[in-house]
Symmetry: C2
Subunit: 534 residues, 2 copies
């Protein structure tokens, strides 16, 4: 794809931002001119991705030292006295025995201090490389990396309603993530492409992440051999010698809570850890079902499970990058449904963040989680509650940051762009308060004085462009203008934005040889075995 093709094709007014100013400058620098060039400039797709968030604000610490120490001691007791089960995985049991654990059948009892000692070899933060080096992300410390929804078998938009997801939907969500300024990471299973065989869809998903975006992405975890495919395709894309020394994937390993580590997920973990690729070790908990109904009890179990899983990753390959994960929701005791945006979930997020930081580990939690079936007020309350909690709770890697609907059953097109817009708020909050002379604005207060107006003052003129976060989808029009436009609700406005972004999309350039090699790998692997469904 030529540079010119990349820079043409769409109306800049609705695009995310002005990142293509540089592109336009380059074009002028090369002396291109005349009507066609000017038209091309005017219609250039301007794609900008904000750098991952570096917090300049404090984390919210809900527990004091005494509370944290209590939960840590309880987690150590769980690991020692109750133990964890590594199911159908004799190699894991041997590793644990050699490391000093008390192994009885599949049950592994970890003597006090063993798990935390093993966790200590995991890096405090790591860099995941992207195809575009400007989009590399640092995970850990004060950073926050935002990745879209993961896992739903259904999609929803206004026109099509709720329906099974296809590979076309998957590619659309890759494109939406690429076009979204505040989304740093392309994610993984943005939706399940149910029209592709279960044993082959990971290949199509990886190919989409590798070719349709230049943001970092996640690997497959549904079987060890699919993890191996993910590593192999990264070797093609990034160069075989780089995979291992450098990290190109962060993949999601769920724990089978309570306290079970199954062979499939551990098999994928083993592949990634050996290849030096990052994993998120995440208890997946619906409180009241997979953990106690109490916050402190759930935190104890989360800590025990995460420590055991992370310790295992370090047994496989000391120093391999790993994230302390916590996906925790509550259960509605009337219906049995999982609930989102609840106070219990926020408290667990905050507490788990503190526990992860005390282990010097990157932390994953949060997201625009909701139980609502529609991108309506319920969805937004629930999502905003979680997004706010996650920013203040020190989350370093946020999966499901946009697009999640109906308890994770549905990837929502409109929900994606509504959430993605809110992610801009997290960026701005994380900047903290500017206390420079310009931030203090004493000259402005003096200039305007009692009863004056700031709109025209010098300080406002100099700062207004960047002073406030700006939405790309919410409606601020006066009532009358809005009513004349048909009184659109947010869902309707979001639908228009989805269409605009997909219409404007153009893929980032990729070496044709690499693209061919990736396609050839996918074709060969697909041809090597029959389709499997379910």
């Amino acid at each position: 794809m030529s540079d010119t093709a990349q820079a043409t094709g769409a109306d800049p007014t609705g695009a995310e931002s002005t990142g293509a100013e540089a592109t336009a400058g380059t074009r002028r620098g090369r002396g291109s001119g005349g009507g066609a060039a000017r038209r091309a400039e005017r219609t250039a797709v301007r794609i900008e991705t904000a750098p991952f968030i570096r917090r300049r604000i404090p984390n919210y610490e809900i527990l004091d030292e005494e509370g944290l120490a209590l939960i840590e001691a309880n987690a150590e007791r769980v690991l020692e006295e109750i133990g964890v089960r590594f199911a159908e995985n004799p190699d894991a049991l041997k590793l644990w025995k050699d490391a000093g654990a008390d192994v009885r059948g599949e049950r592994v009892h970890l003597p006090k201090g063993l798990a935390s000692k093993l966790c200590a070899t995991a890096p405090r933060e790591y860099v995941q490389r992207a195809r575009n080096p400007e989009r590399d992300v640092t995970v850990g410390g004060k950073s926050l990396v935002l990745a879209p929804v993961y896992g739903p078998p259904f999609v929803r938009d206004i026109e099509g309603g709720r329906r099974y997801a296809t590979i076309e939907d998957f590619r659309n969500f890759v494109k939406l993530g690429y076009m979204s300024k505040w989304v740093h990471h392309s994610g993984g299973t943005l939706c399940e492409p149910t029209d592709v065989a279960v044993n082959k869809r990971h290949l199509d998903m990886l190919l989409a992440h590798m070719t349709l975006t230049d943001k970092p992405f996640m690997g497959s975890v549904t079987a060890p051999e699919r993890a191996a495919d993910s590593v192999e395709m990264c070797r093609i894309l990034f160069g075989a010698d780089r995979v291992g020394p450098e990290c190109f994937m962060t993949s999601l390993i769920n724990i089978n809570s309570p306290l079970v580590f199954d062979a499939t997920m551990m098999g994928a973990l083993e592949v990634y850890a050996r290849a030096g690729q990052a994993t998120i070790i995440s208890p997946f908990i619906v409180g009241g079902a997979m953990a106690p109904v109490s916050v402190a009890g759930t935190l104890t179990q989360v800590l025990a499970e995460a420590m055991a899983g992370i310790a295992y990753s370090q047994l496989i390959n000391p120093g391999s990058p790993v994230i302390f994960g916590a996906f925790v929701t509550s259960i509605d005791m009337n219906s049995g449904a999982p609930t989102f945006g609840t106070p219990e979930a926020s408290k667990i997020l905050w507490g788990a963040g503190q526990l992860a930081r005390r282990l010097n580990l990157p932390f994953r939690s949060g997201g625009a989680l909701c139980g609502s079936k529609l991108p309506d007020a319920q969805a937004a309350y629930e999502s905003a509650n979680t997004l706010q909690a996650a920013l203040l709770g020190g989350v370093n890697f946020m999966l499901h940051a946009c697009g999640w609907l109906e308890g994770g059953l549905v990837s929502g097109y409109e929900k994606f762009v509504l959430d993605a817009d809110q992610l801009g708020i997290l960026h701005s909050l994380a900047e903290g308060i500017d206390l420079s002379d310009n931030g203090q604005a004493m000259d402005a207060i003096r200039e305007v004085g009692p009863g004056g107006h700031y709109l025209g003052c010098a300080h406002t003129q100099a700062n207004f462009k960047d002073a406030f976060w700006r939405t790309q989808v919410l409606d601020y029009r006066p009532y009358e203008t809005w009513a004349e436009a048909g009184s659109p609700d947010s869902m309707t406005l979001a639908n228009a934005r989805v269409k605009k972004l997909l219409g404007d999309y153009q893929p980032p350039a990729l070496d044709p040889g690499v693209a061919e090699a990736l396609q050839a790998y996918v074709d060969q692997r697909k041809a090597s075995e029959p389709d499997a469904f379910g």
Copy 2:
């Protein structure tokens, strides 16, 4: 109204809670029995109001000591060098001069330290009494009192759309507040009853707050004589000797930002301060218009204005209760519209909360603020962003906690019950994490073990009823059930709840003599002058 009438009339299943268990007990205690009594019990309206929030969690502190000291020093400079204007208020100017201020025309320059010295006589916290002593609220310290929307000239619901508010709407919102468990305070101008003359509507509003609910309320501030009416009606309701020694109103005094204190608002403040009634001294700021576009500059102005206003209240009557207010939003630089739920607003809220606490003053900010015209996803994102920030930011008195739409132009029926439901989340968050033996749940973790299930375990059975916050309006049904019910969005579900609450409403008992005296006062005052409009 008889006790029996109070306890009959509605289906308990949809009501907020089970507060009327006591009523039922009393009835049984008096020996009432038989079929009619049992039917009455079964159909009793069960109204419960949660006690105001007492935070057991830390506040979020975005600024460090250095930043706070910088803003304090800047605010002192603003007060000394720029000064504030007390417009058309010669008595105020004399008071200021006597207190040591440098008064030039209407401009009052406060020497360094004067404002904070005067603020020191204001109480750190105070109790506002309600007609029902169980609904007294403490304002300040670790408390959070929630009051509904204030001020809109319009209302909106699904059936009627957006329309001018009437006194019937006003009474409906009083009733909704009374029926809402998580709303502690009946508020003030829940909407403007535009069908009543401007110079008389405060009488009808007060009468509604005094007779249709037993929660605390706010007084009129639109003219000093209306404030005097408010005090007089409190004397009738609570007893003349109690008003003064005790506080029965908390009323909203807006500052005319930047740095102007107009005679109308100050006149109302003077009435309330002399009568020992509480006021909220609140800069009302659209950032970029009434304050600098920067957060630190706005905080400086907010602090200067609030200190000057609070100091003035203490000049009028040292020790009179007063709240440090901050109503701050941003402006959309494209349309000029105010915006809500923005990161700038949250940062200002957090910073202002810290500044208020350093002055040992109660703090007012936040609310379910939004710019959206509908109770849709936009409204909910914006509202949730502000509610979350306000809880963590240490707000003590939250006006607009429910019902606000369209930048404060509209009181929304459906929005009211959606927000009021979310307020339950704030209660639960504020409880913090239970670290008791029961909270730790070690026995449960041991009982269930690896691969087990918590739903049936003893700890879950003992705790599930109170373990999780429960919504009264959000939808957790499975997709199929929800789709069969017509796929209702949150607005539709909220509309049904509005109807249920208004249908179930019955007024709390009031001494008939007091009710008559209040009505007579209103009638006499209305007859004493002609209607004024506009």
